[in-house]
Amino acid sequence: MTTISAAFSRTAAAFALVLAAGMLTTCKTDNLGAYDAPLANRQNADAAESPPLPYRTGDLKPNERPAPDSDEAGLWFIADRAESQIRTSGNRITDPKINAYLKNVVCRIAGPHCKDIRVYLLRVPASNASMSPNGTMQIWSGFLLRFRNEAQLASVIGHEAGHYLRRHSLQRMRNIIEQTNTFSFLQFALAGVGAGAGIGILDVAMTGGIFAFSRDNEREADGYGILLMSEAGYDPREASKMWKQVLREEKAHKDAESRRPEPFSSTHPAGEERAEILARLATRVMTRTSTDVGRDRFLEAVLPIRGGLLRDELHRRQFDTFAELLDMLMEDGANMAELHYFKGELHRLRGKKDDAKIALDAYNAAKTAEGSAPKDIDRSMALVYRRLGRPDDARAALRRYLEANPDASDAAIVRQMLEGS
C-alpha cells in the first residue's frame, strides 16, 4: 500500500510539475478577434485626445493581490518563490543604469501598475521575454540586443504587461481545471509532495519548458502591447518593424528546419502574420501624440553593455543569423567600430574559405570607424595573420596588442608566441 501510495505521489508530483509550470511560464499563440479585444472599447482611433482606455473586467487593479484563500493566491505563491530564485540568479544583469532604464519604460507603459511589475534582465543569448502572474517580468539579454529603439522594447513590455493585466495565467489555469477537473489533483500533489516538488515546479517554471499561454492569450497580449505603447506616446508601428527584423534573422538561417527556433517566436503567432496584423493594428491606435521612437535614449542605455551581449551571441556560433543581426545593427550606425570588430570575430571563428580575408577587412574597418573596438582587436588580427601565413604581420599585431594591454592576463602567452613565431 505504501508503495502504491508513493508511486501515486510521484505521478501526481510529475503531473503537478507540468501543470504548474504550464500555468506559470512564458508566452504561446489566429483570429483577429483576440488581437482586437484590447481595442474593443476604443471609440475612434483618430481621436488624439481620447481618455485613457479603461481596463476590461477581470483586470488587476493597481496594488491588488489575490485573496489569500483563492486559487489565484496559490498561483502567486509559486510565482513568488520562482521570483526569489530569479532575484539571486547568477545570470541576472545587475548594472543599475540599464535596470533603471528598463524600469522607466515599464512605468511609462504600465502607468498605475508601475510598482506591481518588477522587471529582471537575464543574461541569456536568445530572444525571449516572459511574465508571471505575480508581476515578475523577465527580459532576456538576447532580446534586448535585437531592439533598435525604445518603442520596440516598449512593444514587448506592453505585450507582457497585457498578460499580467488580463490575468492570463489564471485564465489558463481555470480553463484547464474546467476542461479536465484536475485542480483537486494538483492540490493533492502539492500538499503531498512538499518542498521537493516545489523546487521542481520552480525549476520547470523558470526554465520555461512548457509554454503556458494560449495562442488567443498571445494575440490579446499583442493587442494590449500595441495599445499600451500608443497610449504611452510610442510609435506603435515599431512593433511590426521589430517582428520584421526577427523574420530577417529567421530567413538568414540556411536550413531553418534543422535549427532550433527562438523560444519566443516559436510559441507566438507566425512571424509574417504577426508583423502584418501588428502593422494594421498600429494604424488603428496611432494618434497625433504617439510618435516617440526613442532611438537615442535606447542606444545611450544599451551601448555600454552591448559588447558583452554581442560576445554572448558570437559564442552561440549561429554565424548566419549573427551576420544578419550585425548588418541590421550597422544600419543604425552606433559604435560602428564595435560592430566591425564582431564581424571580424564572426569570420575568424567560422573559418571557412575567404573568411580570414573578410575578417581582416572587418578588423581594419573597425580601426578607422566611429566608436571603439574591444582592446583585443590586435590579438585577433594576429591570429588571422598566422592563419594566412603572414608571420611578420602577426608579430607586429601581437606587439601592438601588448603595447595597448601591458597588463593583459594572457600577456605571458602572447610573449611566448612572439618568441616562438
Binding site: N91, P125, D203, R259, H315, R316, R317, G351, L383, A412
Partner: protein
C-alpha cells in the same frame, strides 16, 4: 520471476533498462582509490584521494566527488584535427572543432565555445599562461561561467598539443563550496599527470 514478467509495466521497465545499457555500452561509475594509478587513454593519473570515475559510452571520461553538476574533472584524451574536444549535447551544427596548428589562445576559445554549446553562459577565460602539462610544454587558464539556471561556476584547465593532438584536463564546479572542495586534488592530478603520446 514469473510474477515480475507477468506485469507488463515491469516488463517494459526491464526491457527499457536493458536497452539503455546496450545503448550506453560499458558506461558507468567506478571508484578510484586514493594513491591508485589510472590510465585514461594515453594519459596516466594518480588519484590523490578517492574519486568517482565515469566512463561514458561516447568515450567521455570524468572524475567527480559529489556529482558532475557540482564538480568534475573532464579528460580530453588526444583530440585530432577537425574533432570536437568532447561530446556535448548542444547543437551539432555549431559544435566547435579543434584544428591542427591552433594556438593556446584559440584552444581557450575552443573550450569557451564548447562550454557555451553546453548552454553554459557568460563563459570568461582569464589568466591564460604558459604551463607544463603531462611533462610537455603547454598552457593553463581559469574560467568563470554561469549555468543555464543561474548557478555561478568556476573552472581551471590545463592542456598541451602533442603530435598535433590536444590533451587537456578541465576542472569545473559550483563556485559555492564544490569547486574549492576538489581544487587541491585537481591541482595535484594536473601536476602529476603523464602523457605517452607515442601510443597513438
Amino acid at each position: 520471476m514469473t510474477k515480475i514478467l507477468s506485469n507488463p509495466l515491469r516488463r517494459a521497465c526491464v526491457v527499457g533498462l536493458f536497452a539503455s545499457v546496450l545503448m550506453t555500452g560499458c558506461a558507468g561509475y567506478s571508484l578510484v582509490k586514493g594513491g591508485e594509478h589510472v590510465s585514461i587513454g594515453s594519459m596516466s593519473v594518480q588519484a590523490p584521494g578517492d574519486w568517482n570515475h565515469w566512463r561514458g559510452g561516447d568515450g567521455t571520461e570524468f572524475w567527480t566527488l559529489d556529482g558532475p553538476a557540482l564538480q568534475h574533472i573532464l579528460f580530453v584524451k588526444g583530440v585530432g584535427d577537425d574533432e570536437a574536444p568532447w561530446p556535448t549535447r548542444g547543437d551539432r551544427e555549431t559544435v566547435p572543432k579543434f584544428r591542427k596548428g591552433m594556438s593556446a589562445i584559440e584552444i581557450s576559445e575552443l573550450v569557451q565555445a564548447t562550454l557555451a554549446n553546453e548552454e553554459l553562459q557568460n563563459v570568461r577565460i582569464v589568466d591564460l599562461k604558459p604551463d607544463t602539462f603531462g611533462g610537455h610544454p603547454g598552457f593553463s587558464f581559469t574560467m568563470t561561467m554561469t549555468s543555464k539556471k543561474g548557478l555561478d561556476m568556476k573552472g581551471l584547465a590545463h592542456g598541451a598539443v602533442i603530435k598535433d593532438k590536444l590533451y587537456m584536463t578541465i576542472y569545473r564546479g559550483a563556485a559555492l563550496h564544490f569547486f574549492d572542495r576538489g581544487l587541491a586534488d585537481y591541482e595535484m592530478i594536473a601536476a602529476s599527470l603523464r602523457i605517452d603520446a607515442g601510443e597513438n
